[in-house]
Amino acid sequence: MNLDFTEEQKMLRTMARDFLSTECPKSLVRQLEESDLGYSPEIWKKMAGLGWQGIMLPEDYGGTGMTFFDLVLVIEEMGHNILPGPFFSTVICAATILEAGTEEQKREFLPKVSAGEMILTLALTEPSASWQPQHISVRAAASGENYVINGTKLFVPDAHVANYLLVVTRTKKSAKPEEGITIFLVDAGSPGIQCEPQLTMGLDNKSEVVFENVAVPRKNILGKLNQGWTIVQSTLMKAAAAKVAEMSGGCQASLEMTADYVKEREAYGHPIGGFQAIQHYLADMWGYTDRTKSIAWEVNWKVSAGMATALDVAIAKAWANEAYKWVTERAVQCHGAIGTTRDHDIGLYYRRAKVAELDYGDTDYQKEIVAGELGF
């Protein structure tokens, strides 16, 4: 047990914070939110130069050879600064390919990810708006050397700019819903794919993706036929844990911004940070943030070490879901009217807190998992 960061980790965190605050000021965040692309290819390229897309990929695949935990430290800073774009989707999918892909697939995809030349995303949820296997209904049917995919995925992040989609499909009916699910690596340019933006509170580039007779070569199956659900589960665990770190960074940023603001802003002749009501809001925000940071580091360390359980992740995500919403809500209140405007930074966090809750499982869903894992 050693709860200090290593020197290397400290450097990574400092570098990430400096890079992001320099390269991605909030004015750019707002600009990217309204842009069609939704991210900055220029920053994307610079991050690749720093080795971030491949940070946890082995050097063999052009990566930096660090750990999932190190990746998450960067993601935490992205939550702190806010960086619009497909980084999260891409690195989580890359981790999935690293875990479940064939050597051929790894060689095909991972070096391109490391080089910043490939954007990936997971196409999982459907109009049923569920993270559970019984609600996967997009079909893939064998047809010669190919499979043919039909159906609709919703809430697919970054689909409009992704090069490849990891599409979770049903390839066999089964009494057990987790059987008969297969993941395909699908070229986003394949004929029959229609991608339509779904404008969200987070302005975070989610899409409806319709598959109409989309042919995918059999070799693009990720993992084994009909046994894809365990891979999905593992991916969701990584994604949820990493999302907790992103949210933790957002809590920290919201707390810092608010503490700074209430020291400056005056009312009735005093800085409002001198009023006990405001002080107590801030004290509670400090606590929520502290718990979120602690649980984020711990769960991600466990994921990184292969020691995390479904319970660990569900608890962490459930906690962070409520904490981030609560912290940003109070942050807006402390900012007063200005905090409710489009042009103030705190609203960026408030909006993202709600969307982050939904990504990879909202609180109700996580609590169901907690109950199940605790045996009730």
Binding site: E34, A129, P197, T200, G202, A267, A277, V332, G347, K354
Partner: protein, 406 residues
């Protein structure tokens, strides 16, 4: 004590219900009657249309004297009208004109001001904006810095106002300005009526959190650059504006009709949950959903019960009798109760909608036209506008409970 419905009220209510039922068929799709709906060109056009129809019938200011365009109807008839309008989410009554400056002028305006300004309000023709807040004077209104320099029969006004709702559609504004450099804070404020078409006025949109490129802003910032305002447009005496401000504030309502509207919105949400099966079974079958909807019903009715006492207090004042001792405290308390309840309502709606709750109305997948996505963000302003929750609590502690100020 007697909660018997007021005789004749149900009939009155029916007349207004019938009117709004018909007229609201003409509303733009997804209409909720909120600021975002009113902000758009289309929404404001609808608002003006409804206002003129109401104005023709004398319904905009039912209780006003006939000489100023009212019908001298009872307080309770006004309530029936308000409830019907809230229930149907109808526009057409200018909360700043009919709701604030009108009553203020009735109470403290000169006869000339009344004759000039009240009838167009009652006809639904002239729209008003409230020029009070400034970047450094929100809750602390007495810190306002916009200055009006006397020059003969005019004031020359310079400064910046913000959070002026709907100013880009408004015709006139009522402003808090500073008129003395000798006195400080509330002792140097005056109350001016300003034609928003005057030279030197610039109105810029102030976009709220939920807005994005495709949406119009409801709030504005207003820059006043040597704006000339005739002295006859001052309400009350020079440097006595604070008294007018407090008079205006007292015209905030019981909020009873707002609870009526929430009741309807809850029924709509229940209906949606009954019909919607995202995962094979109706949302309404989920015990947690049932529990949350029941909680909203409880909170709405509790607020309503309390708001009825505010109404009663206002009615007694109207009759010239003494209002209940804790009337002002109750208003402060209900002010933040209502805003926090509307926040819980929005949060609960989002919680129930899960992944779908993030979708803006522009998405064809958005449930209830993205209503809760929007309200999840817009609800925050209610905890701040018209006196923050913290200010209301201070008032209750100091004035309602007599706790010491240290």
């Amino acid at each position: 004590m007697d909660f018997e419905p007021i005789p004749g009220l149900a009939e009155a209510r029916k007349k207004y219900d019938d009117f709004f039922r018909e007229e609201m068929k003409k509303a733009p799709p997804g209409w909720e009657g909120g600021p975002e709906d009113l902000a758009t060109h289309e929404g404001h056009a609808f608002q003006r249309y409804v206002a003129r129809e109401l104005g023709k019938r004398g319904w905009v200011c039912l209780a006003w004297p006939k000489k100023y365009g009212g019908l001298e109807k009872s307080h309770f008839e006004q309530l029936a009208f308000n409830e019907a309008r809230a229930y149907w989410k109808a526009p057409g009554v200018d909360q700043f004109g009919a709701g604030m400056i009108g009553p203020t002028l009735l109470a403290v305006g000169s006869e000339e001001q009344k004759e000039r300004f009240l009838p167009p309000i009652a006809r639904g023709e002239i729209w008003w904006a409230q020029l009070w807040s400034e970047p450094n004077a929100g809750s602390d209104l007495a810190a306002a810095q916009t200055f009006a320099q006397r020059e003969g029969d005019d004031y020359i006004v310079n400064g910046q106002k913000c959070w002026t709702s709907g100013a880009h559609h408004a015709d006139w504004g009522f402003a808090v300005v500073r008129t003395s450099r000798e006195q400080t804070r509330s002792r140097a404020l005056s109350y001016l009526l300003i034609d928003l078409r005057s030279q030197g006025i610039t109105i810029n949109p102030l976009a709220t959190m939920s807005s994005h490129r495709t949406q119009e802003a409801y709030f504005n910032e207003i820059f006043l650059d040597n704006v000339r305002v005739p002295v006859v447009n001052r309400v009350g005496e020079e440097n006595d504006g604070w008294r007018m401000i407090r008079a205006t504030m007292n015209f905030e309502r019981s909020g009873l009709s707002a609870y009526g509207a929430m009741r309807r919105e809850l029924l709509e949400l229940i209906e949606f949950c009954r019909e919607t099966k995202w995962q094979g079974e109706p949302l309404l079958n989920k015990p947690l959903v049932r529990d949350r909807l029941a909680q909203l019903a409880i909170d709405i009715e509790a607020g309503m019960a309390s708001a009825r006492h505010v109404l009663w207090g206002q009615y007694k004042l109207f009759l010239g009798e003494e209002s209940p001792r804790d009337q002002a405290t109750r208003s402060s308390s209900l002010k933040y109760y209502r805003s926090e309840l509307s926040q819980r309502f929005a949060y609960t709606g989002c919680q129930i909608f899960g992944l779908y709750s993030q979708l803006k109305r522009e998405s064809r997948w958005a449930p209830l036209y993205g209503k809760f996505e929007k309200e999840y963000q817009s609800c925050l302003g209610n905890n701040i506008a018209s006196g923050t929750t913290e200010i209301q609590k201070n008032i209750i502690a100091w004035e309602g409970l007599g706790l010491p100020r240290i």
